[in-house]
Symmetry: C2
Subunit: 213 residues, 2 copies
DNA sequence: TAGATTGTTAATCGATTAACAATC
DNA sequence: TAGATTGTTAATCGATTAACAATC
């Protein structure tokens, strides 16, 4: 844990976690890095290197215990403790996220939903009443919210992000198609859907070109 | 265009495109790699290296013409031609995507929405009537659809992806929290929201640990 | 022309893969 | 014990950054 773990490693952890969860559901007790590497289409070497950033979870001659490893990665990812979140932006995307129950199962608890549109305020979403963003500051402070999910249009996002930092938010899951400019005390994880679709477009074009040749 | 472009470079292109679009909106005519690097918080060297994978778009002593560069990157990303897509899964996520008009502006045209739930089939979403997935095969073939957006639960996704390949789909934008196993003739771009949220969770925990020390 | 900035080569840095001794 | 597989070091590969000649 002493050395700085690279972001490339961290982004692979949820995928390991997902595969181990599936193995667990299938009743598999142990797995070697080689077997797992074949399923996941990565090298066994990479799996062992990645895991050894956090400790020796395996056993020579045996491999890894699926349940133990699953739990350990969960702990590394911070899933053993609950997180309180608010969703800002009660549109379809906000609704999709709040209704996706897997997040709550993993300890991400949606405490409130906020919007600025009077037509939306007062509606119920997934048993939560949509509140006015004017009340957001007070809510964050009183309920000690750590994480804000930003499912709002591009225009308001940057200034709202700065407000969120002032109000004590520690992490922003940002779906607005813009880069936020908060201090490095606030963790930002971007989901830029447009960027993703353009990447798909490039790869599709590239594949077409190869076929032609 | 001869050398294989790395995925790291490709994933940066939409971000350049976004920043250049903003500059264009602001009426900025030219920009140097240095100025852009300061805005984007990357090195000027990286910008020049990235762009020179695709050609020399700049001019010594001047920099880059914003409009030209914007258009060139658009072409590289394949945005100059229209794409026909279908959305499979008419839930909130599917609705969020179809209603987000920026995609259509960029040439991604939603030709159909499909679902397997009889309660949803027949509903109208963004002026499109939700059809039965049973009719998907015929629709893809007759309308020559290239891209499928998969906003369905995990369980059905892998087998559906294999069907989509058989039916002629060339690219899948996958929101199901599972890896698809199609041939390399089909381009897959994953948006794993759970993975993203877990990554955020890790980074948040990591930041907390640093503060304590 | 002089100054600015690119395009591109070279140097550095970091991440991935290979190899193997340690050990269960 | 013998076989298997890890943990970890070393080698390789690739990506990023630095430097600078070319040139507008």
């Amino acid at each position: 844990m002493i050395n700085k773990i690279s972001i490339a490693v961290i982004k692979r952890l949820p995928r390991y976690y997902r595969y181990l969860g599936d193995l667990l559901d299938d009743g598999i007790v142990r797995i070697s890095s080689k077997e797992l590497s074949e399923k996941m289409k990565v090298t066994a070497s990479q799996i062992r290197q990645d895991l050894n950033n956090f400790g020796g979870f395996g056993q020579q001659g045996y491999g890894y215990n699926v349940e133990t490893l699953y739990e350990e990665i969960g702990k590394i990812l911070g899933l053993e403790k609950k997180h309180s979140l608010v969703i800002i932006g009660a549109g379809n995307l906000g609704q999709a996220i709040i209704k996706y129950t897997d997040f709550e199962k993993r300890g991400f608890i949606f405490k409130g939903v906020f919007d600025s549109n009077p037509k939306v305020i007062g509606n119920t979403m997934h048993n939560i009443i949509v509140q006015d963003v004017a009340d957001l500051k007070e809510f964050i402070k009183s309920k000690n919210i750590q994480i804000a999910v930003l499912t709002i249009p591009k225009s308001n996002a940057p200034e709202l992000a700065n407000d969120l930092e002032k109000w004590g938010i520690k992490a922003i899951w940002n779906f607005a198609p813009v880069d936020l400019n908060v201090s490095d005390k606030v963790t930002v994880e971007n989901v830029h859907l447009s960027d993703s679709l353009m990447t798909l477009s490039y790869k599709l074009k590239d594949a077409e070109n190869k076929t032609k040749k």
